[in-house]
Symmetry: D2
Amino acid sequence: MNVGIIANPHKKGARTTLINLCEALEKKKITWSLETETADIIGSPDGVDARTFGDSCDVVAVLGGDGTMLNASSKIGSVDIPVAGINIGTLGFLTTCTDTELDLFADAVASGNYQLIKRLQLRATITSNDGSRQYFRALNEITLTRGHTGRLVSLDAWVDGELLNHYRADGLIVSTATGSTAYSLSAGGPLIAPKADVYVITPICPHSLSNRSLVVSDSSVVELAPASDSSCPMLFTVDGRDVVDIKQGSRITVEQAGHALPLLRIADRTFFSTLRQKLGWG
Amino acid sequence: MNVGIIANPHKKGARTTLINLCEALEKKKITWSLETETADIIGSPDGVDARTFGDSCDVVAVLGGDGTMLNASSKIGSVDIPVAGINIGTLGFLTTCTDTELDLFADAVASGNYQLIKRLQLRATITSNDGSRQYFRALNEITLTRGHTGRLVSLDAWVDGELLNHYRADGLIVSTATGSTAYSLSAGGPLIAPKADVYVITPICPHSLSNRSLVVSDSSVVELAPASDSSCPMLFTVDGRDVVDIKQGSRITVEQAGHALPLLRIADRTFFSTLRQKLGWG
Amino acid sequence: MNVGIIANPHKKGARTTLINLCEALEKKKITWSLETETADIIGSPDGVDARTFGDSCDVVAVLGGDGTMLNASSKIGSVDIPVAGINIGTLGFLTTCTDTELDLFADAVASGNYQLIKRLQLRATITSNDGSRQYFRALNEITLTRGHTGRLVSLDAWVDGELLNHYRADGLIVSTATGSTAYSLSAGGPLIAPKADVYVITPICPHSLSNRSLVVSDSSVVELAPASDSSCPMLFTVDGRDVVDIKQGSRITVEQAGHALPLLRIADRTFFSTLRQKLGWG
Amino acid sequence: MNVGIIANPHKKGARTTLINLCEALEKKKITWSLETETADIIGSPDGVDARTFGDSCDVVAVLGGDGTMLNASSKIGSVDIPVAGINIGTLGFLTTCTDTELDLFADAVASGNYQLIKRLQLRATITSNDGSRQYFRALNEITLTRGHTGRLVSLDAWVDGELLNHYRADGLIVSTATGSTAYSLSAGGPLIAPKADVYVITPICPHSLSNRSLVVSDSSVVELAPASDSSCPMLFTVDGRDVVDIKQGSRITVEQAGHALPLLRIADRTFFSTLRQKLGWG
């Protein structure tokens, strides 16, 4: 058994949690590999590229919060390896366990006694004017928003080849169920239970007040493009991370990624109990 | 070929549209049966109970608007017969065609040249304190709301046996994709594309501002009950129609109905184009 | 110096806080009068009608939460006597101090060392078909909502004699700045700082998605009436308390009440710090 | 009598409306001055700087829509001269009359038979790290938003020296009553009647769902600053026009401008009737 570990070096308590995790794994005779930046935290020279985890590890443990998980998902690549979110300090929506439950985690890995929840991801393809393409994978959401301007942007959206709408807004979000608790929620979108096979298109500050979120089947293909009358600079982002300038004539295609993130679940923590706690319900 | 016809007698133009429809059918050698109230509109004594349409008709035509369709769906019962919405005057979300396209409709029926879009319905079961049960079928939504009181109500909701939340609110809506353009939308819920296999739980004026709509899989079972600390009168409604007083100790179970409404589609009118027109987009 | 005391008998800890308050006042040689129900809490036979506080007291202390304050304001009547909210357990928006700060309160009363914040109230007049009138005073809000029906209600609203809108909705709220943190907020209304001389009209689940809250000057007169095409039963409520059935032909006039509630302020607790704490900001 | 004219050269119909307006004025023996860009539309070499209108004109006519008015207000400067919005094609919120009512307008100017509605404006002062200052005047709103980043920004807001909140959001809008129908509305803010002496602070896509709009007195002073933990680039905008990069350490002060725009009103068009028409109510 080998566990790949990615920790957020900027998170307070990362070093301690990392050391504690290694001890907990050792007790169960589980070995581990550290991703390069993670190895740096404890001054180890043996860090490896997270891209290699797919070949060398049985489980990946991600130490930090939801943001760390978003980054880790990108670093690991599209490989079918269970990923566990070990939250330091606070509770996240992608939490497998917290930093006080490390033995529980090591136990689960050793015994194989855990569930896997498949989290749908999105593949976005930007096709530029000249026909060149860029590919992205999102666990939470992709956005097309206004750039360095004080004006609304104009953009068009299609679903399965049919025109959805011509939007005048700050932008548009295409979010997975996983991302429904993140930026899409701030923009007025609904919560989506993990088992619902859908994703959601949410306009950001639309000029037309009736431009609400639209929930579509996860088999749908969404296309976005700056409107032909649009002259404003636009930005494309993936999980709040990559920022690409989008030019007039470019087109973004969003669809279900072939690869869903297999999120490891051990505790009897339900999505709803996390919702209630994180959103301050009740 | 026989078409069952249900018209809204209170809709201006119902009589004319009814006569025109019969003429259009006659040209195609299609016969028709009129539901009792509909027969009254033209003074015909030959009206029949809409419950018999399942046995005697190939298609049911509903003349009016979306509200007429909701009522008609209830009158016909859970039988697998294609239903066409013929809108008088305005465009609805459940429109097959308008009153200016009657020949088009008769053509489609005669040739069988149409699509059927299955619209998910909900079955709600009220189980009372004494174990007695009442059953309801909703095409749009069911609600549990406050009755004759100026206070919030307290209610609990579960999804697939897991506690979703304890709500303090004006009430809660469980809506189908079809109902997502109706009351749920007014209460802040998202739009749902017809092909998305989900329904949505939307709180009405919740005390906690983070109590947003939740989209769940259409295989989920939702349960609602007045909270144990609740002393306020509550109402249960189905498609804005039936109104049942709910007592402390009652429990409402909501799940996918075995029967989905087969909505007849002939024109190349898409859900999105109807959205844009009805909601004043663009 | 004499302090009138009104406590919520249903609030856990009311008896203890009441006794402690009396002790704190005694230390400062301040006498007190208990309202009838409040006297019952400690088995005293000397309770008096709260209506008499205006003549006999220098300050009224209200023990409980915001709801207790709403009721107390109604019981005291429109007299210009400083009112202090002493919160038991939790913090309210109308809090002068908490049950752990009773000496601070007695001190402030004895020394006169406090501020008074005038809280605008609304006067509502229902004029019935037959010309008869009923008068109400609201510290938070008045509402006109649907009664025992599953349908939207239709109602008309005017501001200063000009038609504002014909609403199809669950109802309409007219709220003071004080009420802006209560029901109006749940219905989507804005927060209003105590010093802003306005009140706000908020539709409840309006059919038209662009029917937003409207903020008007506190010198405006708002009129509400069931629309002429309305057939549904409607309810009128005041501070979530009084519930009056409204018939077709009735008209409700809402304007600034002559009397503003003089809320006693001692601590350096600001409206914004209470907002942040109560609404879970930051 | 002399009327200063500013027209939007990019608006279809600008040339025709300009010529028609001059003819209407001529009939009433009213002279006119054209602003430089406006003179270009009809190839006249006699354009003057709009800054001179304060000295040379009795009324300024602005031909275009609300956007043209925002620009014109900036071009004219803070002078107390009545401004009339003459809408081309569509109706705006700042409309005095439309392009079909030019004689009505000329009549009103000649006879002095019109009302003036004073529209509050905001003055924003940016104080940089080095103590240098920049001043701006807004008729609609100022915003502090995220720049070229996919992340939320962190910013602090104070009202009258008291901390309002630490926001994590896409940004914050401070809007006048006039601006309440523009960007603030898209971000979820309330409508504000022109006579209400307030402005409104609206967060854009706040991370905390309870961060609602706050209405404050127009005598309040609002201060905004990037939070000390903020590392993201931010933008400051005025009426969707000026775009200034804001650095860590800068501070923005927003208060009522000394100058309110005197908007000329002739028709009996009310704010509410414009609302109903523009927002598609009823």
